[in-house]
């Protein structure tokens, strides 16, 4: 692989002809006399020296990936018991109390030995080949409405609990940066590298099959619409001018079903305490964030006014 890179260097050089013989060493341009310049170019460094050094400090802030040997894991630990509490608060609203998944949100558990079924259920327990993937993913992308918001030990705890829900670790298990990579997943052997092409159709041109062999299986009838997708045009038309539309553009993720302990719309009992405060306090809490809710629910692109309209809409649903 390194060889191919080295091979590539002269190609780059010739195509750009970074040539001092042209009399203008600042020009890197196509040169008609590439033959005579090639030798000279081979000697040159050809680097453009654009970009600045990525210091350890810069890199460390973004270097969040975890490899399958566990490298990249920060020091820390979390127990199944701690994870259960966090999961119930932060994850269960979408993924279900037992990992069964609410509505279409991903199911985390079940599906053992189902991979050859008519309807296989691919979960962490039944499908995921590496335990490190789970820590990496929770840390980078969960909870859905507030990614990269969890503390290191919280990620260990939630990972431990999700593994426990899948009967991969015991109730007493404490997950650490030392033991995560050694946890074997049930479907670790379930994958192999791409081996396509796996079909070999031929260009038959005439009498390729008997006409009577054709059986037509029909799909749905197309119904012509004179409008574009209504939700599409509605969204673009009324965005940021209509509380409900703003609400449906993100607030709904938590406030529809109480994810991350959010007060649900159209559920007055969730709001009793909040409504004792002034409306302005509710606005400010929505704009600045409160508890598990990040500022503006993570939608920093929305104006304060839009957030207020979304709040107004949510309060209207309580009446």
């Amino acid at each position: 692989m390194y060889n191919s890179l080295k091979w590539l260097m002269p190609v780059l050089v010739v195509s750009l002809s970074a040539c001092s013989e042209t009399g203008d060493s600042t020009l890197k341009n196509n040169n008609k006399e590439s033959k005579s310049t090639a030798k000279n170019l081979d000697d040159s460094t050809t680097l453009f020296e654009i970009g600045t050094e990525a210091t350890k400090e810069l890199i460390n802030g973004w270097d969040i990936d975890i490899a399958i040997d566990g490298s990249g894991l920060p020091e820390g630990s979390g127990s199944v018991a701690e994870g259960e509490q966090l999961y119930d608060n932060l994850c269960a609203a979408c993924h279900g109390t037992f990992g069964e998944g609410e509505e279409q949100w991903p199911k985390l558990t079940g599906g053992e030995n189902s991979l050859t079924d008519q309807r296989p259920l691919k979960t962490i327990g039944s499908y995921w080949p590496y335990s490190t993937t789970l820590w990496d993913y929770i840390n980078r992308a969960m909870p859905f409405p507030a990614p990269q918001s969890l503390e290191v030990n919280q990620v260990y705890a939630i990972t431990a609990y999700v593994l426990n829900m899948n009967d991969i670790v015991s109730d007493e298990f404490i997950l650490t940066n030392q033991n995560l990579a050694s946890i074997k997943m049930p479907n670790a052997q379930g994958f192999y590298l791409d081996d396509r092409p796996d079909t070999s159709n031929q260009r038959c041109m005439k009498d390729c099959k008997p006409p009577e062999s054709i059986v037509v299986k029909s799909g749905p009838t197309y119904v012509s619409t004179t409008q574009g997708s209504p939700s599409h045009s509605e969204l673009s038309k009324t965005f940021s001018s209509n509380g409900q539309t703003i609400y449906l553009s993100g607030c709904n993720l938590c406030h529809d079903n109480g994810l991350m302990q959010a007060p649900k719309i159209a559920t007055p009992s969730d709001w009793v305490e909040r409504q004792q405060a002034s409306k302005d306090t509710i606005y400010q809490n929505a704009i600045n964030g409160l508890g598990n809710m990040p500022a503006k629910g993570g939608r920093n692109d929305l104006s304060n006014n839009s957030i207020k309209q979304a709040v107004d809409y949510m309060l209207e649903t309580l009446e």
Partner: protein
Amino acid sequence: MHGFSPKQQLDLITSLELESQALSSSDRRQFLKNAMLMLGAGTTLISPSVGLANSVSNQPSSNLPPNIPEWSKKLGTGVLTEPYGKPSSFEKNVVRDTVDWLTQDRISSVSMTPLHKLKGIITPNGLVFERHHAGVPIINPDQHRLIIHGLVENPLVFSLEELQRFPSVSEIKFLECPANGGMEWKAPQMSGLQFTHGMLSCCEWTGVKLSTLLAEVGVKPEAKWVLAEGADGAAMTRSIPLDKAIDDTIIVYAQNGEALRPEQGYPIRLLNPGWEGNTSIKWLRRLKLGKQPWQHREETSKYTDLLPDGKARQFSFVQECNSVITSPCPENPFQKKGWYEIEGLAWSGKGKIKGVDISIDGGINWRPVALKGLVLSKCLTRFGFMFHWQGEPLLLQSRAYDETGYVQPTFKQLREVRGGNSIYHKNAIHTWQVHQDGSVQNVQLT
């Protein structure tokens, strides 16, 4: 009209007319009536001299020959009416669309390109299909960076401005979600072309080759893979083999001549030509070189192809040769008997399209058809042929083959080896059934 000068009246009416052009004639009539009443004018005051009478009386045909159309007898709008131009208001239905039951919400979701309305091979930027896993981040380019580190000699950080100082390349390449058509594995489920094949677009992408940047950082000999990571809320990652990264991967900052659209990864994205779209990480912030793949969620739990034996194919990067007829299709039925150009698109992630065959009888007999316009590697290629439709029912199919000799498979061949649960990489020969009334239906032949 009270309080308006004749000039003001004319201006108002003209602007009302413009705004109402896209409405249906009955809606338009009502819109204009209401507008007039609001302005304090009785409908009787509307003067035929300003050209409203025709539209209000719902006689659109009066613009047809031999009459002089209303737009020929007055001035249009001036320059900069639309500083960034938009399609004609009569094209407002040409939009991306989605299938709501596919995903739980619209933040981690997908929208499809209206292939049935497009010509040539370039997808306009506003119609390129979308696939986000945590919505579209709004990124200030001055506050965005690309870091390249890991097994390299000199880890570097680049701003957008710095990336644009490197030698640029512009390549026309298709981009396809590997789940394109994934809903069709078990049966024809989708009603139209936009939903059976619309996770597919093609742009001219401009940027700097990743190999150029890798030369700059100096790749260590033991490096074999590159992890690409996005700056979105999903911090999307994929492991890319170094061979591909050196071959033709591009760090893209422009599409079809202008800056990347936010939904396409503004300010920068990766583009792995011919490979599953998911590997072309959007909002790219980091590339890390390593010895082995990272086995992250999007290359284990997702984007792996579960086969009938319960094992899954992994790192199935290439989008194999595929094609579809774009007209006629359910959205573009035959209106009456006569001559039509039957046309479509073919593409292969392994190189150029070599040819396309067409069948009108469900695959019993085939005939080769002409490729049209540019035939480029890993790029949409248009094909077409003239057909005289006499009202007979048809089972229309296209079958593409690429320069490697690979021939697009039938559904039967694909299902025999992959079953019905592999979700990704469905590239089977597609069938449209043309009925005697000219309507077109999505069908599968068993």
